[in-house]
C-alpha cells in the first residue's frame, strides 16, 4: 500500500526537454509542480567536469548515462509470428536516463521539420497520387509548420542554436540551406566551425551542384545568455559529445537551459531517483488522480495531482499509457485501438570513405553536431515519381569525436585481428570517415508497441514490446539516397574508396541506428486516428498530457529535438491559456 503525499497541481514524469519546458512554464504560471525523474541528479558541475567525462569506455561502452537494461528494457521481434525477446543490452538506440534525460547526452543536432512533414499524406497524395502511400499508415499532423514556427524560434532561443537560416523572411544566403522552411528570425548564434572532413564533403557537393550547409546545432558558438537568462559558454570541439555530458556549458541541455530556471520558481520541486510505475485513474477511467512512484529507498508513494504530464523517453510514453490503462491498445489484427500504433525509428545508412594517407582528417576533434549536410535528397526536395517511396534522407559528414574503442576502421577485406588488422587500423584511423545518411521512416501496420506478455522490469511490470520491420518503401528510399551518397563520396578529394551500406531488412535491435524512436502515442485531429490531440492531451483522460516524440505520427529524417521542444511550448501555452481556466478537452470533435 503506497503512502499518499500532499496533493499538487501538476506532476511531470521525466526531466528531459519536454518535461523541463512544461514544468518550468507551468510553475512560472503559479502551478505547484512536482517533477519526478527516475535517474540521479547529475549536473554539469561537478558530474560532467573534465577530464573524467572524457572517458570513452565509461560513457560510450558502459552506457553510464543510458536507461539501464538490467532494470528496464524493451522486448523485440520483427513480426507477430515471432516471440519477442528482451534487448538484454543496448544496441539499436540509447534511451536516456538521469537528470535531463537523453537531453543531457544528446549530440545537439537541431533541425526544424520540413513543411511537407506536417501534411505528409496530403502532400504526397496530391502530388503523386494515393498509390505512393500504399501499405503505409503515415498521416498528417494536426498542426502545421506555420503554427510551430514561432515555437521553434522559442526553442532555438532556449537552446542557443547555432546556424545560418536558409529562408529568413525569404532571404537565402549562398552557403545556407535553400530547402529550409521559412523562418521569421535567423538562429541566435552563428554556425559552428567546420572540421576538415566536413569541409571536403561540402566542397565536393558544391562542385556537383548540390547545396551543402553547416548543420544547425545546439552547441553554442559564443557566450550566450538564453531566453531563461541562463548562461552558456562556447563549444570547444573536444570530441567527447554524444553520449557524454558537456563540461563546458556549451551543449544545450535541460540541465543548463531550463531546470535552473524552473528551480528558481518557489512552486517547483524536482525529485530524482523517483521511478513512476503508473498514472492512477478514477474508477471510471475518465480522470487521472495522480501517479504512483518508487523512490530511492524503495518506498512506493502516491503523488496526487490535478494534471499529469507524461514526458518520459520517447516510446516509454506508450508504455506509461498501457501500464496505466489509458486508451485502447492497438490491435494489428483488427486495426482498432490507438495506443502503440505507428512506432517508427529512422532509416539510417552510411558510406564509408577511405582516404589517402596525406589527408589528416583528425576526426577525434569535433562535436556531436559538427557537420556539413545537404537536403537535396531529403523530404520532397526531389522528384519521387516512379521511385516507389516517399520522403528521403539528409546526407552529411559529421565529425563528432572518433574514440578508437568504437572507431578503429580498416578496409572490409582486412582481417579483424592480427598484424594485418594492426597495420590496417594504423593506416586508416585518421584517414577514414563515414558519410552518414539519416532518413525518414514511415508508419505501417506491422510496426507497433504493446506490453510484453512475458518479460517484466525491475518493478515487476511488463516491458514494452516492439514489433517492427522496416517497410519496403523505406528500404527503397535508403538504397536511392545511399547511392547518391556514394556518388558524392567518390567526388571528395583524397578518397580512395567509397563503400555504401544502405539499410536492409530485417530491422534489427543489435545495431545502433539513432536514438530517435517515435510514435506509440501519436497526435491527430480525432480519437479515431490518434492517442492525443495536438496539445498532447489524451482523448480518453483529458487531465493527462503525453508529450514528446511519441506524438509523431511517423518519423522525419531530421533529428527530433527541436520539434519536441516546439510541441512542448504548444502544450504549455494551451494549458496556461485555456486549460487552467476551464479544465477539460482542449479540442472538441
Amino acid at each position: 500500500m503506497s503512502r499518499t503525499l500532499p496533493a499538487v497541481d501538476v506532476v511531470v514524469i521525466g526531466s528531459g526537454w519536454t518535461g523541463s519546458i512544461i514544468g518550468k512554464e507551468l510553475a512560472a504560471a503559479g502551478q505547484r509542480v512536482v517533477m519526478l525523474e527516475r535517474g540521479h541528479a547529475k549536473w554539469t558541475a561537478p558530474d560532467y567536469a573534465s577530464p573524467q567525462v572524457h572517458d570513452e569506455l565509461k560513457y560510450e561502452r558502459r552506457n553510464e548515462l543510458h536507461q539501464n537494461t538490467a532494470r528496464e528494457t524493451y522486448t523485440f521481434r520483427n513480426t507477430t509470428a515471432q516471440t519477442a525477446l528482451p534487448m538484454r543490452r543496448w544496441g539499436f538506440a540509447y534511451p536516456g536516463n538521469h537528470l535531463g534525460g537523453a537531453g543531457a547526452h544528446w549530440a545537439g543536432v537541431s533541425y526544424r521539420f520540413d513543411e511537407t512533414e506536417f501534411r505528409l499524406r496530403s502532400h504526397y497524395t496530391e502530388k503523386y497520387g494515393a498509390g505512393i502511400l500504399e501499405g503505409l499508415t503515415s498521416q498528417d499532423w494536426p498542426v502545421t509548420y506555420a503554427e510551430l514556427e514561432p515555437l521553434y524560434e522559442r526553442f532555438e532561443a532556449l537552446a542557443g542554436v547555432s546556424g545560418r537560416g536558409g529562408n529568413v523572411q525569404g532571404h537565402t544566403p549562398p552557403d545556407a540551406n535553400p530547402f529550409d522552411p521559412p523562418r521569421n528570425k535567423d538562429y541566435p548564434n552563428p554556425p559552428m566551425k567546420v572540421p576538415f572532413a566536413a569541409a571536403l564533403f561540402g566542397e565536393a557537393a558544391a562542385r556537383m551542384g548540390l547545396h551543402p550547409y553547416i548543420q544547425p546545432s545546439s552547441l553554442v558558438t559564443r557566450p550566450y545568455t538564453n531566453s531563461e537568462g541562463l548562461n552558456m559558454s562556447p563549444c570547444s570541439y573536444c570530441g567527447f559529445c554524444a553520449r557524454h555530458g558537456c563540461e563546458h556549458f556549451a551543449k544545450a541541455s535541460p540541465n543548463i537551459c531550463v531546470l535552473p530556471a524552473a528551480m528558481k520558481q518557489p512552486s517547483f520541486e524536482l525529485r530524482t531517483d523517483s521511478h513512476v510505475v503508473r498514472i492512477e485513474l478514477t474508477p471510471d477511467k475518465k480522470r487521472a488522480t495522480g501517479v504512483t512512484y518508487v523512490d530511492a529507498k524503495g518506498e512506493e508513494l502516491f503523488q496526487p495531482a490535478e494534471m499529469v504530464f507524461s514526458c518520459t523517453f520517447a516510446i516509454n510514453n506508450a508504455r506509461m499509457l498501457l501500464l496505466s490503462g489509458i486508451g485502447t491498445p492497438f490491435d494489428p489484427t483488427t486495426g482498432q485501438g490507438q495506443v502503440g500504433r505507428n512506432y517508427t525509428h529512422q532509416t539510417t545508412s552510411s558510406v564509408q570513405l577511405f582516404f589517402r594517407e596525406d589527408y589528416n582528417l583528425n576526426t577525434f576533434m569535433g562535436s556531436g553536431a559538427s557537420a556539413v549536410t545537404l537536403d537535396d535528397y531529403n523530404n520532397d526536395n526531389f522528384d519521387h515519381t516512379g521511385k516507389g517511396f516517399i520522403g528521403g534522407a539528409y546526407i552529411q559528414i559529421q565529425v563528432n569525436g572518433a574514440g578508437p574503442i568504437n572507431f578503429h576502421p580498416t578496409l572490409p577485406e582486412t582481417p579483424r585481428w592480427g598484424s594485418a588488422f594492426k597495420a590496417g587500423v594504423r593506416r586508416y584511423y585518421n584517414h577514414c570517415v563515414n558519410i552518414t545518411i539519416t532518413g525518414a521512416q514511415q508508419s505501417h501496420p506491422g510496426s507497433w508497441l504493446s506490453l510484453d506478455p512475458t518479460y517484466k522490469d525491475a518493478y515487476g511490470q511488463p516491458l514494452l514490446r516492439i514489433t517492427s520491420d522496416i517497410h519496403d518503401s523505406d528500404i527503397r528510399m535508403s538504397r536511392f539516397v545511399t547511392d547518391r551518397g556514394v556518388e558524392i563520396g567518390r567526388q571528395i578529394r583524397g578518397v580512395e574508396r567509397a563503400i555504401g551500406n544502405p539499410r536492409t531488412k530485417p530491422y534489427t535491435s543489435t545495431v545502433y541506428q539513432s536514438t530517435h524512436l517515435t510514435g506509440g502515442a501519436i497526435m491527430g485531429d480525432n480519437p479515431g486516428n490518434s492517442v492525443v490531440n495536438r496539445y498532447g492531451q489524451s482523448w480518453d483522460v483529458p487531465n493527462v498530457f503525453v508529450v514528446g516524440s511519441s506524438m509523431f505520427p511517423q518519423n522525419a529524417s531530421y533529428n527530433p529535438t527541436e520539434t519536441l521542444g516546439a510541441l512542448s511550448y504548444l502544450t504549455a501555452d494551451a494549458v496556461k491559456r485555456d486549460y487552467l481556466r476551464a479544465p477539460g478537452p482542449l479540442v472538441r470533435t
Binding site: 549536473w43 554539469t44 558541475a45 561537478p46 567536469a49 573534465s50 577530464p51 552563428p190 554556425p191 566551425k193 567546420v194 558558438t221 559564443r222 557566450p223 550566450y224 541562463l230 548562461n231 552558456m232 559558454s233 562556447p234 563549444c235 570547444s236 563540461e247 563546458h248 556549458f249 543548463i256 535552473p260 578529394r493
Partner: protein, 248 residues
C-alpha cells in the same frame, strides 16, 4: 566565419608550415590538387602573421631583444625577470613556460590593440613582426624553475573552480581547458600554474570588463563575467600557489 573575408593570398609555390601541432611540415600543392576551378575563387586564409613569424624566427635573435629591448625602450627582462620569472608579487606574467605561439599572438594583439595594456602596447608596437617572432621563441626557450608545490596555501574555492567549476553560476571548471591544476593544454591554452596572483586577478578583471578580448570565441569574457571578486581572488591565489609548469 572569419576566413570568408580574408584577402586573397597566393598559395602555389609557397611554403606553409603547420603550427599548432608543434611539428613543422612542408606543404606543397600537388598537381591533382591544383585542379582548375570553374571560375577564379578566393584563396584560403594564410596562417596568421604571428604564426608565420614564430616559425621563421629563431630564439638567438630574440635574446638581445628580451634582455636589452629595442630603440631604448624597456626590455622584457626589466619587468618579467631575466629568466622570464617576475618578482613574486609583481603584476606581470611569468613568461617562462609559455609557448612561442601564445607569446607571439599576445604581442601581435598588444600591437593591434586587441589586447590592451599601457605598458605593453608601445613595446609591442616598437617591435616588427620578425622581432616579435624571435622574442617569442626566446621566451619559449626559458623553462620555469623547478619549485615544489606550495601545499599550505592551496585555496579550496580556487581548487573547486579549477576542478569542477560552479554549477549555479554556469562556470565551467578552469581545468576543462587550461588543463587540470593549470598545467596548460596545447600551445594556445596557457598554463596558469605559478602565475603571479596579481597578474591573474588583473587578467580576469580585464576579461570581465572587456578590456581584454583576444581569446578564441570570447570564452573568457563569458566565464569571467560570472566570477565574483572573491572567486577571482580565490582562483588566482590557487593557481599562484602551484608550481610553475611549461606549456605542453
Amino acid at each position: 566565419m572569419k576566413f570568408f573575408d580574408s584577402p586573397a593570398v597566393p598559395l602555389v609555390g609557397a611554403f606553409l608550415l603547420a603550427l599548432v601541432g608543434g611539428g613543422i611540415a612542408t606543404h606543397i600543392i600537388s598537381p591533382e590538387e591544383a585542379e582548375p576551378p570553374a571560375r577564379p575563387y578566393p584563396q584560403p586564409e594564410a596562417l596568421p602573421g604571428w604564426a608565420r613569424q614564430t616559425i621563421i624566427a629563431n630564439a638567438e635573435d630574440g635574446a638581445p631583444i628580451f634582455n636589452q629591448g629595442v630603440g631604448g625602450g624597456a626590455s622584457c627582462a626589466t619587468c618579467h625577470g631575466e629568466a622570464g620569472i617576475p618578482e613574486r608579487q609583481a603584476p606581470y606574467p611569468r613568461l617562462a613556460g609559455l609557448s612561442a605561439e601564445y607569446v607571439a599572438k599576445q604581442l601581435e594583439d598588444y600591437a593591434s590593440g586587441v589586447r590592451n595594456n599601457e605598458q605593453m602596447t608601445p613595446i609591442a608596437r616598437a617591435l616588427n613582426g620578425a622581432q616579435r617572432g624571435s622574442v617569442a621563441r626566446y621566451v619559449a626557450s626559458l623553462k620555469p624553475a623547478e619549485t615544489s608545490l606550495s601545499a599550505a596555501s592551496l585555496d579550496m574555492r580556487g581548487r573547486e573552480l579549477d576542478e569542477v567549476g560552479d554549477n549555479a553560476q554556469a562556470i565551467p571548471a578552469c581545468g576543462n581547458c587550461h588543463g587540470l591544476r593549470g598545467r596548460g593544454e596545447g600551445v594556445m591554452l596557457p598554463p596558469l600554474a605559478g602565475q603571479p596572483q596579481t597578474y591573474l586577478v588583473s587578467q580576469l578583471n580585464a576579461f570581465q570588463e572587456r578590456r581584454r578580448q583576444n581569446d578564441t570565441v570570447a570564452v573568457m569574457e563569458g566565464i569571467a563575467s560570472r566570477l565574483t571578486p572573491q572567486d577571482i581572488e580565490a582562483v588566482a591565489r590557487y593557481y599562484s600557489s602551484l608550481a610553475p609548469v611549461a606549456a605542453r
